[in-house]
């Protein structure tokens, strides 16, 4: 992998809630076009860290730049250059596919002419041309996910954040979804993804595993396996997470 531009750079990034340190001085960089897997047990601090990176939560200490902008002082500029998709919220269920495309294109500042061509191309790639007027609610889950992902990158962001994007979908749709992720990464879009499927960790160029608010391990899946003398990421994850102190949180 050619390490070109650094798209995310976190330096001693910390978030405290009162006495509790949710994210504890984490340091990492993510390069352009990389697929970066952000793993951790429930409560390890993943979500808090992600919220800071997408500019909706301010760090207590330390700093980070995303797409070249400071997440604390230039969060508006950060937000313009990122895409975000979570399992919980991504599309408006009760309006048609085409309206969703127009809406999200509008949010990301696409002009109407540009939006028209983009929307047509998008429906074409997703093979959803005949479903432009279908309500999102009536689409199969797998389609919704593909649509949500495509909309998260409709404005060609520098980086896209995916929060457990494949929860609950069938195994084939899950894999097709990862093929979309790869296609986006090949176009130069950096992908920052969290997941509870350990086989998906293997698809990432690099992964980090958070334990108790700190990054306990970070490298390519192959290097991690050598380092921990283990055959699977699952085993490494289990070994690290079992050592966690914060079992109750």
């Amino acid at each position: 992998m050619q390490h070109t531009e650094q798209v995310i750079q976190a330096v001693n990034l910390t978030k405290r809630f009162g006495e509790f340190t949710a994210v504890d001085h984490i340091n990492f960089t993510v390069h352009q076009g990389e697929v970066f897997g952000f793993l951790g047990a429930n409560g390890a601090g993943k979500t808090t860290a992600m919220k800071m990176l997408i500019g909706i939560s301010t760090p207590t200490e330390g700093s980070a730049t995303v797409a070249g902008f400071d997440i604390a002082t230039q969060s508006e500029s950060v937000k313009q250059r990122i895409g975000y998709m979570s399992q919980k919220f991504s599309l408006y269920e009760d309006i048609p596919v085409m309206e969703n495309i127009r809406f999200f294109g509008g949010i990301y500042g696409l002009r109407s002419k540009e939006l028209k061509t983009k929307a047509a191309a998008l429906l074409e790639t997703l093979e959803m041309g005949s479903h432009a007027k279908t309500l999102v609610r009536d689409l199969p889950l797998g389609w919704k996910q593909k649509l949500a992902f495509s909309l998260a990158i409709i404005h060609e962001p520098k980086i896209v954040f995916l929060d457990e994007p494949t929860g609950g979908v069938d195994p084939i749709t899950r894999r097709k979804f990862w093929e979309l992720i790869y296609a986006a990464a090949a176009r130069g879009i950096t992908v920052f993804v969290t997941t509870h499927y350990m086989d998906e960790a293997e698809y990432c160029n690099r992964i980090s595993i958070m334990v108790d608010g700190r990054i306990a391990a970070m490298d390519t899946p192959a290097n991690l396996k050598t380092q921990f003398q283990s055959t699977s990421i699952d085993a490494i994850f289990t070994q690290l997470a079992r050592g966690a102190q914060r079992s109750g949180d």
């Binding site: 951790g40 749709t173 990862w178 499927y197 086989d199 293997e202 699977s232 990421i233 289990t238």
Partner: protein, 305 residues
């Protein structure tokens, strides 16, 4: 004796437009740990709600412990434990308050049935004065399980208890289920295929239908195709190249390698190797399929590309 019997259950929504369950039949034996495996929308929750007497089926019949889910709903409610898919505890009550509430709901006390939940509850005990809303995902699941068990039910229904829970907590949860299993019949649903092997028998579900029902070993044994694991330096390119080959039934990433499925004898290892000679670092190995491979073969039987 069967703990649960389901016969030709159908449930539709939107005046028949959406089929949540399509003529589903199966039975669960006394003391069995039975898994309903399938993605969201497969019909798992609908099935649970019908068996827990919360919904009425459009047609078909179902019995729990020999009691009819429609007529004998009151009697069934006394004998089952249920943990719904969405988190269902009082966030503003403490761990102990939640448990004692659910005990009271079934007219019992924590003390009376402590031995059944003891294994799980000792892990929660250090946090017994903490509000349920402040627990981690894994701890919440354990508490919810305790609450569903506190009245010593005959049959326990667990709807996606491990969804959204990290792999370590998931493992711990399944270890607890295995320990309970000798004393109680358990029906559990999950979208995680790797959990299927931990059940005595499983039903693979998709689009409201049961595609296959057997022991995990039986399901693996019935996999008739040949399955190879293929690795190379350019994985993304490899996927495209393999799918372009004739008679390939499926080619998908599985962790660090690809699982390639084709009808038995359609390809030999050497034949594939020469067809893919432009790729470097090629490693090809025959492998035994997992439940996930079987599931994928079932939902995509003829897809050539």
């Amino acid at each position: 004796m069967s703990a649960v019997i389901v016969e030709h259950i159908t449930k539709t929504f939107n005046k028949g437009k959406i089929k949540a369950l399509d003529n589903v039949s199966f039975s669960v034996q006394e003391g069995e740990l039975f898994g309903l495996i399938g993605p969201d929308g497969a019909g798992k929750t609908s099935l649970f709600r019908i068996l827990t007497t919360l919904w009425l089926a459009d047609s078909g019949k179902a019995e729990v412990k020999g009691l009819d889910v429609v007529q004998d709903y009151k009697a069934i409610r006394k004998r089952i434990g249920y943990m719904p898919g969405k988190f269902s505890l009082y966030q503003d009550l403490t761990v102990e308050e939640n448990l004692s509430f659910f005990a009271t709901l079934f007219n019992t006390t924590i003390r009376e049935n402590y031995d059944l939940v003891k294994d799980i509850y000792v892990q929660l005990e250090p946090f017994k004065d903490r509000k349920a809303g402040k627990l981690s995902g894994g701890m919440k699941q354990k508490l919810a399980l305790c609450c569903a068990l506190i009245h010593k039910p005959d049959v326990l229904f667990l709807d996606e208890p491990t969804t959204g829970v990290d792999p370590v907590s998931r493992k711990e949860f399944w270890e607890m289920l295995r320990r309970l299993q000798s004393r109680i019949t358990i029906i559990v649903s999950t979208p995680y295929m790797d959990e299927a092997t931990l059940c005595d028998r499983i039903a693979l579900m998709q689009d409201g239908r049961i595609m296959q029902l057997d022991t995990p070993e039986g399901i693996v044994r019935s996999f008739n195709d040949t399955l190879l694991s293929i690795r190379g330096n350019d994985m993304f390119g490899l996927i495209g190249a393999i799918r372009a080959l004739p008679e390939i039934s499926g080619c998908y990433a599985f962790g660090e390698s690809l699982h390639v499925r084709f009808p038995a004898d359609a390809w030999t290892e050497t034949g594939l190797r020469s067809a893919l000679e432009q790729f470097s670092g090629l490693v090809i190995e025959p492998i035994t399929p997992g439940i996930e491979d079987c599931f994928m073969a079932l939902i995509e039987p003829h897809a050539a590309h």
